[in-house]
Amino acid sequence: MDNLKTLIYKLADSQMIIGHRNSEWTGIAPILEEDIAFASMAQDKIGHALALYTLLHENMGEEDPDTIAFSRKASEWKNVILAELYTKDYGFALIRHFLFDQLEAIRFESLKTSTMEPLAQLAKKFSSEIKYHTMHGDIWFKNLANGSQESKARVQTALNECFEYANGLFEKVEDEQTLINQGLYIGEEALKNQWLNKITSLVEEAGLTVASMGDKGNGSLTGTHTEDLQPMLSEMTEVYNVEPNAQW
């Protein structure tokens, strides 16, 4: 698979997986207003995935979006591992969303000037939604970090857990330098520096500490995933697999 395709799969699959994971809170989020907001953002993420799969299909000769989304095995997915982790509580869901969406904001901001025109167009289109997603993540983070002793401790625990997977957010496709030279994107190292600066300032401002970035999330681009992914994919594709050729 060519490297640009792999990069777009990484973007699209991460959107799809975090969108589905976040949608799992629909109906059971802590308060009604938050339930609606979180579900609505999950829907935005799946919309971003659809737009990127459509780009892969129409511009790069890949299968149609439904086939891409619903018929691959876990080892074929390129999503960042942080996105696929089973959500053990709502605190974890919120902190992952805070960290993930800050990175989305930086990634898609930089892609607005990509030399791949359709990708730059999508990056511009996503930006209004991402603005609210980061606002939502930041405000929740700030409120929980400045809340009770318990909320503060649970935010710190979730931050530490997520950081064990943080290096995996920045896995490089093969021969990344060629993509950078062609102006297609700015590369993972640059994204990592911007993201870490931003997160460090937000976390320290809230009186918490940033853990060191761990390697537990490495390997997603070469087919390594946690055992949390396949059960989710099985549930996500259950209806599709009853009749894969059904016309909706």
Binding site: W25, E33, E34, A37, K88, I139, P231, M232, S234
Partner: protein, 122 residues
Amino acid sequence: MKSSLDPRVKRVVPENQETIAFKANDHFTTYQVFTQKKTGAQHEHVGIVHAPNKEMAMLFAKEQYARRGKVVGLWIVRTDHIFSTKHEDMDMFASAPEKKFRDPAGFMVKDKIKAFKENRNG
């Protein structure tokens, strides 16, 4: 393969979590939400959200009341910051509908305007 990890199926309860007992009416305060449909237009009241503070009320209001259709701005007002008339004083408005002389539709000026315009153009 693991069984379902969807929190709606596998109800998640944090370890060592004590059961929290809720009292009647034990919830966040309410905020009134106003949306503005275009720049310069009046903000119109659209509903209420529960929230612990104004910042989070704004966050919730955006998705409750501005996720469909065009909105360019929100106002968020704490419900207890609104000063209102009392229900029992409703009678002070009672005679207003009778005062037709205050209704602009009562002034018959259409013909005069038409005549003025014709005169000006002619």
